[in-house]
Each structure stands twice: as C-alpha cells, then as structure tokens.
Symmetry: C2
Subunit: 201 residues, 2 copies
C-alpha cells in the first residue's frame, strides 16, 4: 500500500478532464468535428494524444461528451423560458429569441451543434437532443391549444417544424457569413415561429 490517490490528486484529474472537454469544445467550435482530430484536441489542451485516453475510452466518447455538455446548456436555457410564466405564445416568442441570440453569439458552436458533419455517435446524440427541443416546443404549443390561445393543430408536427425552421434560418447565415443584421434576423425568425404556431401577430 504505497500509493493511494489523495483528494487533491483526484481533483487535479477531474480538472484535467474538464480542461480537456473545454478545449475540445473550443476546437470543435473553431474548426468543426471533422478537423478536430485527437492530436489537434490534445495539442489545444496542452497534453499528449495518448493522454486523452486517460479520460475517455475513445475519441467518440469525448466527442459525445463535448456535444452533450454544450447541447444540454441550450436545452436548459430554452426550457427555462418555455416552461416559465406567461402566455404560451409569448413564451414561445421569448424562447425563440433567446435561442437565436445565443446561437448568433456563438456561431461556431451553434453550427457544430445544429448541423456540422459529425461522426455517427455525435449524429445520434444530435437526434436525441432534437427530440428534446421538439418536446419542449410541443408542450408549450399543446398548452396554447388547450387554452385557446393557439389554433387547433398537431403539436408534435408544429414542434418539429419549429425545430427545423429555427435551425435552418440560423445555420445558413452561420455557415456562410455573419448575419448582416442580427436584430432583423431575430425579429424575422420570431415572427415566422409565431405564425408557424398560429399565434396572432
């Protein structure tokens, strides 16, 4: 019994793992999944390629962790607004606005989360998170329909449409160039989203 991890050592390891995830996220936001090789990520974190495998069993596992962390933050923020107080239509408007602003503020990451080509494991995760966005939208819409603030509709379909619409509107400016005018884009997007759900203007 000549060696045992001391609490400080455990913390140091956790911090190293954390640092790796943060750096990997930056790399992915900067250059996309395809260019984020193990070597590139390790370099960014200031460690050797082999050391990545101290923290993750494979590159995929790291990529999935990066995706989950970032995507979860967005789900949390969106959920906060959509499940908050107020008229369903107004919550929807604010949700879309918040989502869009955050995406525009962080092009690279938003593109990586929403659309950038990625390995299968990340693709699967993306699908899962899209379902979660959809579920959030669906319940606001359902509520609005139940309370007669929104017209009769299939909430699941509208929710899917919203998810796709928001993604597309944001991703195209994101992938090509910065939006010419973010405010215009956001107000245009919220308008479409509200119409999509049948909310009166």
């Amino acid at each position: 019994m000549a060696y045992r991890k001391t609490p400080a050592e455990i913390r140091r390891l956790e911090a190293a793992r954390e640092h790796l995830v943060v750096c990997a996220t930056e790399v992915v936001a900067d250059v996309g999944w395809a260019q984020a090789s193990v070597t590139a990520v390790a370099d960014a974190a200031g460690i050797a390629a082999g050391s990545v495998y101290q923290h993750f069993s494979s590159k995929s596992a790291l990529a999935v962790e990066v995706f989950r962390r970032a995507a979860q933050r967005e789900v949390d923020v969106l959920g906060e607004v959509l499940e908050g107080d107020g008229d369903p239509a107004d919550r929807l408007r604010r949700g879309v606005e918040v989502f869009a602003r955050r995406a525009l503020e962080n092009h690279g990451l938003a593109y990586a989360l929403l659309a950038a080509p990625a390995e299968p494991a990340v693709g699967a995760e993306r699908l899962a998170f899209r379902r979660r966005y959809r579920a959030l939208f669906a319940s606001v819409i359902e509520e609005g329909v139940a309370g007669d603030q929104l017209p009769l509709q299939e909430p699941e379909i509208t929710a899917a449409a919203l998810t796709g619409a928001i993604g597309e509107v944001l991703v195209h400016p994101l992938s090509t160039s910065a939006a010419e005018d973010a405010d215009l884009l956001v107000s245009g997007l919220t308008s479409v989203a509200l119409r999509c759900a049948g909310a009166a203007p």
Copy 2:
C-alpha cells in the same frame, strides 16, 4: 489507325456510366453515404472497384453526381408546382404536399438528400440545393405578399424556415421509422407550412 470508338461503343460506355450512377444512388438510399464505399457501389453495379475510375475521377465526383441527379429531380418537381398557376398560397400548399409525398415514398433517398451525414463535397452540394429550394419558396411568398394574399414578411426568412421545417418534419419519421400515418403527416405539414407563410386557413 486500327481502333476508333464506334457509336455503339460510346453508347455502351455511357450506359455503363448511367448504370453506375443509378446503382450508386440505390446503395446510398439503402445504406447512406458513409457506408457507400467505392467497393460497395462497384459491387452493386457489377463492376470492379477500379472501373469506377473509368467514369469518375474520384469517389467524391461520383457522390456529387448522385446527389445532383436526385436533388435536381426534386427541385424540378417542386419548381413545376410552385411556379405553376393559381393562388400563391395554394401553390405553396401543393408544393409542400408533393414534396412530402415524394420524400415519404422514398425514405432512404430523401434522408440521404436532406440530412444523412456525408463527405464535404456532398455537404456543399446539399447547401447549394437548399438555397435553390429557398429561392423557389421565397419567390412564391414574395408574390403572395405583393398580391396581398400573404401578410408582410421577410420572404427569405420564411423561405428558409419552410425549408428547414419541411426537412425536419420529414426527416425525423424517415430516420426513425415509417410515418405512422402518411396522410396525417402530410396534412399536418401543409398546415404548418401555410401558417408559417401567414396564409389564412
């Protein structure tokens, strides 16, 4: 001068190329871009891997050709309807309906065109075609706005939203399982699309 391609030989070569593209399209529709290796495609076409390079300079070039052919058909069909006769809102409804029905009828290909992970060259092509869908939608909407059949809006944004919404609604059932009820899905989708553009129900 002991050998010269005879017209029949030229036709045979063109037919071989055509056959290759068709088979490659089937493979892609069945297993996706990632699994459509040169060997798999060549096997499907009944030729050797090396022979692919008689017709295309690279795998990417073949993939792009496959994508273009299939995507162009959809653009043509959609354009036909959207630029046809009638009320802009009604054309939009019919356009969405036709697009959706075709996609549902050919899950695999639709998924490959709209969303399946693909190499960069195909991704670029996909982007280009999305812009074309967008342009088609934008001009119907612009027309509708000009003629007061649709409320004032940013046609480009609505068009992008429509493209994304339609893709998302179709792709999720497509990637997971067959739509439970295609008619319900299509009518739900056309309704959202019309609301999206602000067309009265």
